[in-house]
């Protein structure tokens, strides 16, 4: 069943520069989607629209068949989606456990341990962790939330090849084992190779590969 659907999404800045020119797609639970494309093609914009961070110039986004603008973008962000960013975006004065606890009432340690962080690392300040570890914390935070959709914006962009490969695997496992719908915007071929479906965004249009 389609979890997230989007139809004829158009987006332009100041009514002039058309970033998206009628993008449509259907996303299911339990799958990892990769969206590829050159810089500035609108990948992050599409992710922002799907996550309710911005409003399309025209078009419609449905979650479980309901228009997210009608149910409320804030509620959509709170209940339906969670984000993973290239720059991790962790609260710098909190520990990994506390960062994960921001989105979930469940104990955060099992999620963190599953992603490879030790108990000791989970209690450190996040700034004292490596980039890869910080991204794992960001993924743990997304996984711990009850939101069925994970939107990842260049999740491996700041990481070395080996770590990027690990993160890609984690995202794939999350989609398959935890029945999440993971949408990753990326330049990384490693991540694209792990994806169940790959889209390419070119000249404002989405093409399935």
């Amino acid at each position: 069943m389609n979890l997230l659907e989007f139809y004829d999404l158009k987006y332009s800045y100041n009514g002039q520069q058309n970033i998206l020119r009628g993008v449509s797609g259907k996303l299911e639970q339990g799958k990892l989607y990769a969206i590829l494309g050159p810089s500035g093609c609108g990948k992050t914009t599409l992710l922002s629209l799907l996550g309710g961070l911005d409003i399309p110039t025209s078009g419609q986004i449905l979650f479980n068949g309901k228009d997210i603008r009608k149910t409320g973008l804030a509620a959509h962000r709170r209940n339906h989606v969670s984000f993973i960013f290239q720059s991790y975006n962790l609260i710098d004065y909190l520990t990994p456990m506390e960062n994960v606890a921001l989105t979930s009432k469940l104990p955060p340690l099992p999620v963190l341990e599953r992603l490879g962080l030790t108990k000791e690392e989970s209690k450190r300040n996040v700034l004292k962790l490596s980039g890869g570890q910080q991204q794992r914390v960001a993924i743990a935070r997304a996984l711990a939330s009850e939101a069925p959709v994970i939107l990842a914006d260049e999740p491996t962009g700041n990481l070395d090849e080996d770590t990027a490969w690990d993160i890609a695997k984690i995202l794939k496992e999350s989609a398959h084992q935890m029945n999440k719908c993971v949408v990753a915007v990326t330049h990384s071929n490693e991540l694209a190779k792990q994806a169940d479906l790959v889209f390419r965004l070119k000249k404002g249009e989405l093409i399935m590969q």
């Binding site: 922002s48 309710g52 961070l53 962000r77 960013f85 975006n89 004065y93 909190l94 989105t103 300040n125």
Partner: protein, 448 residues
Amino acid sequence: MGICKRAVLSLVRKKGKAILLFLIFFLVSALLLTCFSILDGTRQAARDLRTKIGAVFYIRPYTQMTMENGTVSEGSTPTISRQSMEEVIAIVGEELRAYNTEHYGYAKSDRLRFLPGTGDSEASNMGQVTAVRYSKLTDVFLSEEYTLLAGRHIEPQDKNKILISAELAAENDLEIGDVIPLTHAGLDQRDGLYIDTIPEKTAFVEAEVVGIFQCTNSQDSPDAPTAGKSVNHIFSDSHLLVNLQEQQDGIYEGEIAFYISDPLELEHLLEQVKAVDSIDWENHILRENDFQYEQIAGQLQSMQNTALSLIVIAAVLSMAALMLILMIRMRSRIHEIGIYLSVGKSKAEILGQFALENWLVLTSGFCLALLLSVLCSELLNQSLFGILTEATEIAALQTGGKSDYLNPEFLRSVLLFFGESCAVLLTVLASSMMTLALKPKEILTKMS
């Protein structure tokens, strides 16, 4: 994780910023508390000073003189009744500290030999009696023309008590506690001789000497009759003249003085007293005396104005600085706001956390400032208001009783804390709203 825990963690983990903010809140609160304490202190000191000095107004009778066919004739002596006086007392209300009445007469005695004046004879050997409620409040004692040597002054509850001069007491071997018989008398001049206008004596009173005074600075006219000499002056209570049939009960011929607490009220009270119809204003005038207060009023006003100006400047500057610092601090948290929004926290939750953080720091800074101002108030009070005491050369502000003018008032402190809290919350709201009003994507763009 709730906003309380997040707020506490933020403060605990970012100690440097929290301590800096705490110091700012502490300094601003201490400054404002001190300023308000000084303002309150100067107001209270001024009020105490005014009350100590007080003011007085008099209702003074004057006899109309008329001229007919080249002859000057004197009208009847104007009087004020007790009813009129009670109307005035009701107008003055709580401001009234005391009032004094005066009535005049003459008295003589078989046991009393008055010190002779011009044209002294057996008939004119008498003394002038001034019947009062308080002898210490009469002009001669206030100006120290007379000073009490022994015993006490005449007071309202007295009946048939008298004050006599030291010379008269010595002349007649009188002491405090002696009782002497007095009878009524009247003085007039006929054919160049002073006579007693009441030769047939029908009223007698046993009067007790309760005080002896010294005529220190009084100067008698060289041709004053016996009754006109200061040393023969007798002060008594009103009962004595009533008993000697020289005064109608409740009717006063002399000046009536009303002593009030606050000189600032004087003008307003005089307006109301002038409207009392039962007083014959054709034959009475109102006289006021706030000379002592006028002497220091300028100093007091300028001190209060300085304190007020300082408070306004300090309050505006400190609040402006505080708001600027808070705005900069809030704007530096755009990254945090973006993260919270992206993990689904509502704007209200984010605002709540920031407001709570600042409020907690403000509360601790304010409490320390309050504690210090309570502890330091006595020291500051001595240095600030001690100088005032010396400057005004009055004893009004000397220590003793409630003299800590800088001790912060509870209600004032609560209001100040409330005001500071509002200012802080409004600043947090305004500065956060500048960020929160943006679309989440714009915030994330700014973050990156």
